[in-house]
Amino acid sequence: MVTIGIVAFQGGFYEHYAMLLRAFAETSIEGEVKLVKKKKDLEGLDGIIIPGGESTTIGKIAHKTGILYDIKEVIESGKPTLATCAGAIMLAKKVRDAKVPEFSQPLLGVMDIGVVRNYFGRQRESFELDLHIEGMDEAPYRGIFIRAPAIVDIWGGARAISKITYNKEEIIVFASQGSILATTFHPELTGDARIHKRFISLVKR
């Protein structure tokens, strides 16, 4: 029995919830899902998800309710973590915006990656693209990128798991570090539970 918490201040947390239920069913791993909003919700978690949304909003509410630091502790204690889109921004040690300079926001800063917010541009530049992901060679994975960030810098313990070529530049869209997985796209919007299954297998281990 594993318990996975989803940070549920704002954004696509119910989409992760539904995907986790699907991943549990497909792997026959027994598990439950908890929405995390208050400090007590962090107790007894085996893994945590930081969903997509607006990173500025999620960071500010986590800061205001005082659990930003507690979430950081859970991640740093080695609990498997899946972060998507805004979640990846929250985890990055270095963050900047593609257009607006000198912008600061509350972040977790636990992963050795540099992220550029809104890298691909505005909503009209949001796109879908089939991805090749390390360890998922059987079929490509449909990447849904919505006002997505990009991982432009990687060092230390972090490692690229999937890259795309965009405007002739190579960009990392999926990275890992220890038991942390961070994607700049939205696996929870596809019907494909492979990434969530990889995550719960990390939790199970």
Binding site: A8, F9, Q10, G11, G12, F13, Y14, E15, Y17, A18, M19, R22, K37, K38, G52, G53, E54, T56, T57, K60, I61, K64, T65, C85, A86, D97, K99, V100, F103, R117, N118, G121, R122, Q123, R124, E125, S126, F127, E128, L129, D130, P140, R142, I144, F145, I146, R147, Y166, H186, E188, L189, T190, G191
Partner: protein
């Protein structure tokens, strides 16, 4: 406190995945695609996607229905200039809606209300990192085309502005940018979704600082959903004709017991408690129009409404949010029963 469970998690966690809903709309379009090939149908549906996507495909249904998913639990704030937009962003808004005048002032000014000054919209886009939305008049394709060209992240085809087409709304499948539409009941919401809307909001009665109509519209939508789901298929077919919507779309909604797209509350939200109330009634998020920048404590109020919207199910946090504002500083508000029928904005574009 069991009463906080209403209307139950089921409204937000539904068993049909996001991708199934996207597929549904593509499948609806497929038959039309075939007819179009035979020259029997006009262009009123999304284009099918290739099996494999080797180069980035923009403006797909997944990204158009997807953007609102990441606005859920958040507050979109009406702003009229860069300074207000920055206050909104600092307070934790998930997006800003750029207008020429706040709805309250539109109501007071009278005359024709049009799309905001594009230079102002552009300036806001350059100064904030969150999505920027703007309103167009109901049926005004060209205002929408211009905003798409400008790069606005989402377009609100809004009854707050003066409609240019009394009969038709914009065919939103023709655009790469997602659209927002207002609705007062399930039929109206589904008509807008069948035209391609990606986000539905209650109409409420904008610019009044009075949440009464938004409550009414949200309850009607929720009750309609429950009542159609209990009908027999034949009765639902009849209902679809009454609503003037495709039967399949009504069937999907009654299966989900919610709208198949994201559903926000709007119209008259002025305090943290108002926002939390709308979330409790089943809204996925809220729009705040005049409520923030027509109050005399916009900074605190913006922050407080963001907190209350996210933490709506935790009375302790909503109380804390409510303490951040002062009732004496709330906008005065308008008693809706004092408005003449022709002064109502919600009856535009149904």
């Amino acid at each position: 406190m069991p009463y906080l469970e209403y209307p139950s998690k089921a409204v937000r966690l539904y068993n049909v995945g996001f991708e199934k809903i996207v597929e549904f709309f593509y499948n609806m379009a497929e038959a039309r695609d075939r007819l179009r090939d035979e020259g029997l149908w006009f262009d009123y549906s999304p284009k099918a996607l290739p099996e494999r996507i080797e180069v980035p495909e923009k403006g797909t249904l997944s990204v158009k229905y997807g953007l609102p998913i990441y606005q859920k639990g958040g507050v979109c704030m009406d702003v009229t200039n860069v300074e207000q937009a920055q206050i909104a962003e600092e307070a934790g808004a998930v997006s800003v809606m750029v207008l020429d005048k706040l709805p309250y002032d539109v109501r007071k000014a009278g005359g024709v209300a049009r799309m905001a000054d594009v230079k102002v919209i552009e300036e806001v886009m350059e100064h904030v990192t969150i999505p920027v939305m703007a309103k167009v008049r109901i049926g005004h394709y060209m205002e929408a085309r211009l905003l798409e060209e400008l790069g606005v992240d989402m377009i609100d085809e809004s009854e707050v502005l003066t409609p240019v087409d009394a009969k038709n709304h914009i065919n939103k499948f023709l655009f790469k940018v997602p659209f927002i539409n207002g609705a007062r009941d399930l039929g109206e919401a589904l008509r807008r979704i069948s035209e391609g809307a990606s986000l539905i909001r209650t109409k409420g009665e904008a610019g009044t600082g009075n949440v009464e109509e938004a409550v009414k519209h949200m309850k009607i939508i929720m009750n309609d959903l429950w009542s159609v789901s209990s009908l027999s298929p034949e009765e639902r077919m009849h209902k679809a004709r009454e609503y003037k919507v495709p039967y399949e779309l009504l069937e999907l909604s009654s299966r989900l017991k919610r709208l198949p797209v994201v559903n926000f509350a709007a119209g008259g939200i002025a305090t943290p408690a108002d926002a939390a109330l709308m979330m409790w009634l089943g809204a996925d998020g809220v729009f705040v129009g005049s409520g923030i920048f027509k109050s005399s404590d916009p900074r605190e109020r913006a922050e407080a409404i963001v907190l209350a919207t996210s933490m709506w199910d935790d009375p302790e946090s909503v109380l804390e949010a409510q303490k951040m504002i002062s009732e004496a500083k709330s906008m005065m508000g308008i008693d809706i029963s004092s408005l003449r029928p022709e002064e109502l904005l919600q009856t535009r574009g149904i």
